[in-house]
Each structure stands twice: as C-alpha cells, then as structure tokens.
C-alpha cells in the first residue's frame, strides 16, 4: 500500500479521516495544511472548529485547536486573537454555522476588521444533521426542509457571503471565494488569507465551494456537475478584495 504524501502540519494519528466519501472537506484541509507548511506557521496556528461536519476536523492538524459551539467559532477565535495577537487564529466552519446562526458574528467581526482568518466551507446544506436547507441552498434545490425545492419567494435567494463581507470591510481585508474543483487557486487564496493575518493587515475570509454527495444524493459525475455548473454559476469564484494587488482568478 502506498502512503500518500501528507502536509507536515497534518496530524497523522487521526488519519484516515472520518469525512464521507466524496466530501470536499478533505481537499480544503489539504490545501490548508500545505499553506501552513509553506508559510512555516504550524506552531503559531490555532484552530477553532464549528459544530457541523467541520467538527470532524477537530484533530486533523498537528496544531492546537478547540471545538466551539455551532455558529460561535468566529467570536471564539476573535477572543483568542485579541488576547494573543501573536497567534495565527483560523476559524473553520460551514455555510450553516457561518451564514445562519453565526451570521451576526461574521458580520460584526468583518465590520470591526478583526485580524482573524475564517474558512467557510459551502456545500449548500446542513450536512452533519442530515441535509436540511441552508442559506446557500440553490433555488429549486431539494433538501430535507425544502422537500419540494427551495422557493425564493418563500425563503429568499442564496446568501452571497463574500460579497457582503467585501462591502463591510476596509481595503486591507482579504475576501475570496474558491472552489474544490480548482485546487491550485484554492491553495493560493488560502495562503493569501493567512498571509493577510501574518502581516497584521485585517480580516481575511475565504468561502470554499465544496461537495456533499451524501446529502445531495448524487453520484460522482452528478456531484462535480452540480459544483462546477450550478454552484460556480451562482457563486462567482475569485478574489473580491485583496491588499496584495489585482485579484487573480
């Protein structure tokens, strides 16, 4: 059996991980791990994990980490950063924890330009609890609590988080949307987000479009199609705000 090359900042005793087959989290966490290695910040990096599928990453890294409460990852890492500014604090959450119950914290942290890095994995549903509708569920998408398809007349249109965060933040914040279908770009955006904190500039936020074949009930081909054709159409990928020069796609 071939042992794959893994980032140094990964915690090997917790592998193989517990994410479902086809889940995008594994790709995001690999990009994160490589970014941490390349920037050489393993010892300074501390993670906060939301409750949801994100929590399955609680012992993923060989970095200090804490579980928080559902939706409360942002304030925990804000508190940590304000008391220990030399740490690189990273909040890791899903679209439910970030844009729903955690939205007020996200908004306010952005307004205050908190010097934390938040990675939000968007798979358009509440995964861990069984596939309920989420703020980023697409119009017409069927979920456990939109069994007949999301009706935007009833429940609005999908939340575009990086867009509102870009509006709320000053110019030295970093705001981007990546996708697990474009790995190199994903890693570059994550690196930039972390770099923004390392330099002490301001708020850094990356939403990552990701896959959930378990709750989407899709096979491999259908999963990629939904991500690349539907999600990436609704949620434009790219850097919305960056202090590092023109946003690269």
């Amino acid at each position: 059996m071939v042992t794959p090359v893994t980032p140094k900042s990964w915690y090997l005793p917790s592998k193989p991980h517990k994410f479902c087959p086809g889940c995008g989290h594994g790709i995001v966490l690999k990009a994160l791990g490589e970014a941490i290695d390349e920037l050489g910040i393993q010892d300074e990096t501390v993670f906060g994990f939301d409750i949801g599928c994100s929590l399955l990453a609680w012992d993923f890294f060989a970095c200090d980490s804490t579980q928080t409460h559902h939706g409360r990852t942002t304030p925990v890492v804000v508190g940590l950063k304000r008391s220990r500014p030399e740490l690189i604090t990273v909040g890791y959450m899903g679209d439910g924890g970030g844009y729903s119950i955690g939205s007020q914290h996200l908004l306010n942290a952005a307004v205050r330009n908190e010097k934390v890095t938040l990675i939000l994995v968007n798979n358009t549903n509440y995964g861990m609890t069984g596939g309920q509708m989420a703020p980023t569920t697409l119009p017409g998408q069927k979920t456990e609590t939109s069994p007949f398809g999301r009706d935007p007349e009833e429940t609005g249109y999908p939340t575009k988080g990086p867009e509102f965060i870009a509006e709320l933040t000053p110019d030295n914040a970093y705001v981007a949307r990546a996708t697990v279908s474009k790995y190199n770009q994903l890693k570059r955006f994550i690196r930039n987000a972390l770099q923004n904190q390392i330099e002490g500039n301001g708020f850094s936020f990356v939403e990552v479009l990701s896959t959930c074949p378990t709750n989407w009930r899709t096979n491999a081909a259908q999963t990629w199609r939904f991500l690349e054709e539907e999600m990436e159409t609704h949620f434009p990928v790219g850097e919305l705000k960056t202090p590092f020069g023109k946003g690269a796609k």
Binding site: K18, F19, C20, L56
Partner: protein
C-alpha cells in the same frame, strides 16, 4: 413469548439498520410489542452501526439493553464492539470468514456461531444480499416472527426495487431461506468455546 433482545452490528452501508427495521416491522405486523432503536452518535459516520431490537408479547420497558439473546456481528470490527452484549444465554453470531482475535470474542456466551454468510452471498447469490442472509439467520435463531411475515415485511420495504427487477425478489427470498437454514443447522453444531 418472552422478551427477545437482538443486537445487530456492522459497517455503515451494510444495511444493518434496514434489516433491523424490517424484522421489527414484521413483529409489529404480528401484533407483537416491539421496539427498534439505532445507535446514532457521531461515531455513526465511520463507526460501527448498531441496531437494537426487542420483541415480546408483553409491554417492553427500556429501549436499550445490556445483554441480548442474539448478537450478530456483520463485520470484523463489529465483533469486538458487541462482545459485551453477550452473557451465558446469548447466541453470538458472526461470519465464519472473519479473522477475529480471541480477546475480541465474548467471554460469556451460550454458543458462538460462525455462519458462511459472506461466502454464500458472494458465490451463490449476490454480495448485496449478505444482510438478507443475516436477517434469515436471526429469524432462524429466534423465531421472533414467522417466515411468512418476514417475507411480507421484506416485500413491503423493498417491493419498489422488486417491481423494477423481479429477479431481485427471487434472490432476496432465497437469501432469507438460506440464512434461516444456516441458523437452524448451526444450532445443532456451533462452536462451543470453553471459557
């Protein structure tokens, strides 16, 4: 009929919960008292899936139990995970193809039974009906429901699949029969380990 407690355990995707639900439904259809409850902690993702079934003529008490009349482990990992449900009255069943450390087997049991369910499924039927063979075995060991009611419950749950492919019906019923026979044979033989 006095209380029969059954614990089924296996990997996610093996159909442990489906089989348990069908058995419980069959018992319900015979107007028996029955409770079915899955384990549903976080370990469900990537952990052993366990189903707890109780059937009785009397009202049933607590939904969980510490010892069972029959324990069936559908995967190697499930053996160690369920050994503690076995006491001197328990029939502890697993697939005879498993490689199991002695220390993972129960210390107390009435009989430890290895049945060739996986091999039979793979060679004679179809890998997918392995769990239906197990279902047949459970019925053969406990007689919690009649074979007819079991078939009807199976039809009820999987009928929609059988409509698309009638061969599946044949296959599943055969698996059920084979499992039941395996169980009845094993009750005569079985491996009696000396404690």
């Amino acid at each position: 009929m006095s209380l029969v407690r059954i614990a089924l355990a296996g990997e996610g995707g093996q159909g442990v919960q489906s089989v348990a639900e069908i058995i419980a439904e069959a018992a319900y259809n015979e107007d028996k008292q029955t409770i079915y409850i899955p384990n549903f902690g976080l370990e469900q993702r990537g952990g052993v899936s366990i189903a707890f079934i109780q059937v009785s003529n009397e009202k049933i008490g607590a939904p969980k139990f510490d010892k069972a009349e029959v324990v069936v482990a559908l995967s190697e990992r499930a053996v160690g995970r369920t050994a503690h449900y076995s006491d001197s009255k328990t029939l502890f069943v697993y697939d005879e193809g498993f490689k199991v450390d002695d220390q993972d087997l129960p210390k107390e049991f009435r009989k430890i039974i290895g049945i060739p369910a996986i091999a039979t499924a793979n060679e004679e039927l179809h890998p997918r009906v392995f769990n239906i063979i197990i279902m047949g075995a459970v019925i053969g060991l406990t007689n919690v429901v009649s074979f007819e009611t079991a078939k009807a419950a199976l039809e009820n749950k999987l009928g929609y699949k059988f409509e698309k492919d009638p061969n599946l019906r044949e296959l599943n019923y055969k698996a059920l029969e084979i499992g039941k026979k395996m169980a009845e044979e094993s009750l005569k033989e079985g491996v009696d380990k000396n404690v």
